[in-house]
């Protein structure tokens, strides 16, 4: 008897508590899965800053959660399902390797909207978004070409995928534009984030006579090695300001906040639609960090002018004439690369003396 009374009282209390909460608008729940830790100081760190920007923008109207260090593959499916079951109505999956897990989970939760970074598969409730990092690469490639004294610039690649190859080509094209003698050395680290390996890759490049290092991996290790050897480098994904003014002479910053705020706002208004977004410098998604005084004023001015020309749409970093590394023609004089061409890029441009691992 007593127990029954207790139960009745308890359920009444719960009803009483729940009722007002139901009456007012529940906040929109937005979930994020990250491939690395939020403290990586690079890729994931920037995504998390954008998540915080969303919270700041919408206040009580949204509630965000994230799961960090989710391995690409089957585990991602579990993490996504967990977020969907927890009532998240919009889920951002922030790495290329989450692509198939996103598609599978999205099919099971048609009323949940998914946003997948850097992928190419979309559905009714799956949109993709990416940033035109190669635009930023053109700017730092210009600085690299001007700054090198040994005429050898090194590039630490993560994986030989189109996004990374675009960056290598773009920086090489613009380095050579300002310095016809420049050579590019490429080392593949086969990791997005492995500080020790990145440091070794940087050392290997430096031993080869390279004096400017570009990186498409996320740790600051290459900058530390560059500093020891008196070489220079660039911040990747985040500003890496601790290495200012040299060896970090500039940086490419991924700024996801405008996109995240826009998409969350659209879900709140009910105007969200699937699609593919690929924004660059002009939309504020790719930002060039402060160019320090270690760079001569005229080089800085040149780089900033290029940045502004790309931002306004006046100039495209992949404008012909450009040949592929095997000597065949890719773009004719004045021709601009199509987005499809870029998204499947699997070749180096003429002048890079290296093979892409198959």
């Amino acid at each position: 008897m007593q127990r029954r009374t207790l139960l009745a009282t308890a359920s009444a209390a719960i009803m009483a508590l729940a009722a007002p909460a139901m009456a007012q608008d529940e906040p929109l729940k937005v979930g994020f899965i990250y491939v690395g830790p939020v403290g990586d100081g690079g890729w994931t760190y920037q995504h998390d800053l954008a998540r915080q920007a969303v919270e700041e923008e919408f206040g009580d109207r949204v509630e965000t959660t994230f799961i960090e260090s989710v391995p690409e593959g089957a585990d991602a499916e579990r993490a996504l399902t967990q977020l969907a079951l927890a009532g998240n109505k919009l889920i951002f999956a922030t790495s290329f390797g989450f692509m198939d897990p996103v598609m599978n989970v999205a099919a099971k939760f048609p009323d949940v909207k998914f946003e997948h970074a850097t992928g190419y598969k979309t559905a009714e409730n799956v949109a993709t978004y990416d940033a035109r990092f190669y635009e930023g690469r053109a700017v730092i490639g210009t600085i690299a070409g001007r700054m090198t004294e040994s005429n050898k610039i090194g590039y630490i690649g993560s994986f030989p995928i189109p996004e990374v190859i675009q960056g290598i080509n773009s920086s090489f094209i613009h380095a050579r534009k300002v310095n016809p003698d420049v050579e590019m050395r490429v080392v593949w680290a086969y990791s997005w984030f492995d500080p020790a390996k990145e440091a070794e890759a940087a050392s290997a490049l430096l031993a080869e006579g390279v004096d400017v290092i570009l990186q498409h991996t996320d740790s600051t290790a290459p900058l530390a090695k560059a500093q020891e050897a008196g070489a220079i480098g660039f911040g990747q994904a985040s500003d890496m300001a601790a290495f200012k003014p040299s060896p970090r002479v500039a940086s490419i910053i991924d700024e996801w906040s405008p996109y995240y705020i826009k998409r969350v706002g659209e879900v709140l208004d009910g105007t969200w639609e699937s699609g593919s977004s690929w924004a660059g410098i002009g939309d504020g998604e790719v930002v060039i960090g402060e160019i320090t005084d270690a760079v001569p004023a005229e080089v800085k001015a040149e780089a900033e002018a290029l940045r502004d020309k790309i931002g306004s749409g006046e100039y495209h970093p992949f404008t012909g004439p450009l040949n592929k590394a095997d000597g065949t023609e890719w773009l004719a004089e004045g021709e601009v690369a199509s987005d499809q061409d870029l998204q499947s890029m699997n070749f180096f441009v003429e002048g890079i003396d290296a093979q892409i691992p198959q």
Binding site: G36, G39, P195, A196, A201, S203, A207, P357
Partner: protein, 295 residues
């Protein structure tokens, strides 16, 4: 062409973190303790060392703090396995997970700042690299030529016999685990203080697991550990160096090579145990077994 000396110099610093961690684990395993928490102790050392170096401005103080922190966190493993006789494999894995999480949590205030520069040692080689190289003969001498080393090996080979002879099995193992922790801590700190110069979460990126593989590869000897560390470090450095020189190399195949070598060594060891009476180079007899004194 590629200058072999420059490859060797790169190899020395690339192999230092795993050399320290593997030497520490070697001593622990020779005492009969299988501690899979190397990765967790390394990351703890990486953070503590970085924090101390950053706060004091002295990198050497950082390494001392890393050794202390590594030994302290290994105490958790001591309590679990030596006092409560918990399963060593499970406790070691727990230590790794705990260390990674703990370091991530306490590391937040140290993100984005830079370590003080390390003064170069003799021949322009880092002092800690020299220390690592010196530790190889030191550990060898201790294990093979000193009386405490003999007792430690006895405890690892047959803890019941060692106990019957009146040696303190538990005390010996506690000391060996603490030494392993301190060495792993220094190895981790080499990555944060000397290689990367910054703290980032998860920065040891699996080096602790490689150290565990090296101990097996070494057939539980100090010179073998050096050979293993150089093989692992050397393959990494060489393939990167070849790439930088523009030589086409099968990266995945080369990266696999040390692991293949480890598997091969394991096969050879078990074959030798099966077919020869002497059974040299096998794992310590009491490895991974807990000891409880009945009398």
């Amino acid at each position: 062409m590629i200058d072999p000396l420059s490859v060797f110099l790169l190899l020395l610093s690339a192999s230092t973190p795993i050399l320290f961690a593997a030497l520490g684990e070697l001593v622990a395993e020779r005492a009969g303790v299988l501690n899979l928490g190397v990765e967790g102790m390394m990351i703890t050392g990486a953070l503590a060392g970085f924090a101390a170096a950053y706060a004091s401005g002295n990198p050497f103080l950082g390494f001392a703090a890393a050794a202390l922190a590594g030994a302290l966190i290994s105490f958790l493993f001591v309590v679990l396995t030596q006092v409560f006789l918990a399963n060593q494999v499970a406790s070691g894995l727990a230590l790794t997970l705990f260390g990674l999480g703990l370091a991530a949590m306490f590391g937040k205030p140290f993100e984005g700042v830079k370590a003080p520069p390390m003064p170069a040692g003799p021949l322009d080689i880092n002092w800690i690299v020299w220390l690592g190289l010196a530790m190889v003969p030191a550990v060898w001498w201790f294990l093979n030529r000193s009386r405490p080393g003999l007792i430690l090996r006895g405890v690892g080979e047959n803890h019941d016999a060692a106990h019957a002879l009146g040696y303190g099995v538990r005390a010996t193992r506690m000391a060996a685990i603490a030494f392993g922790g301190a060495m792993a801590g220094v190895g981790g700190a080499f990555i944060s203080i000397a290689t990367v110069l910054q703290w980032t979460e998860g920065m040891t990126a699996g080096a602790g697991w490689i150290a565990l593989a090296i101990v097996v590869f070494s057939r539980w000897t100090a010179p073998g550990v050096l050979a293993g560390a150089w093989l692992f470090g050397g393959v990494t450095v060489l393939q990167l160096r070849l790439q930088a020189a523009g030589v086409q190399v099968p990266v995945q195949l080369l990266s696999m090579a040390p692991y293949l070598a480890t598997i091969l060594v394991l096969v050879l060891i078990s074959a030798r145990q099966k077919f020869s009476r002497r059974g040299g180079g096998a794992a310590p007899g009491s490895l991974g077994l807990n000891f409880h004194a009945l009398r």
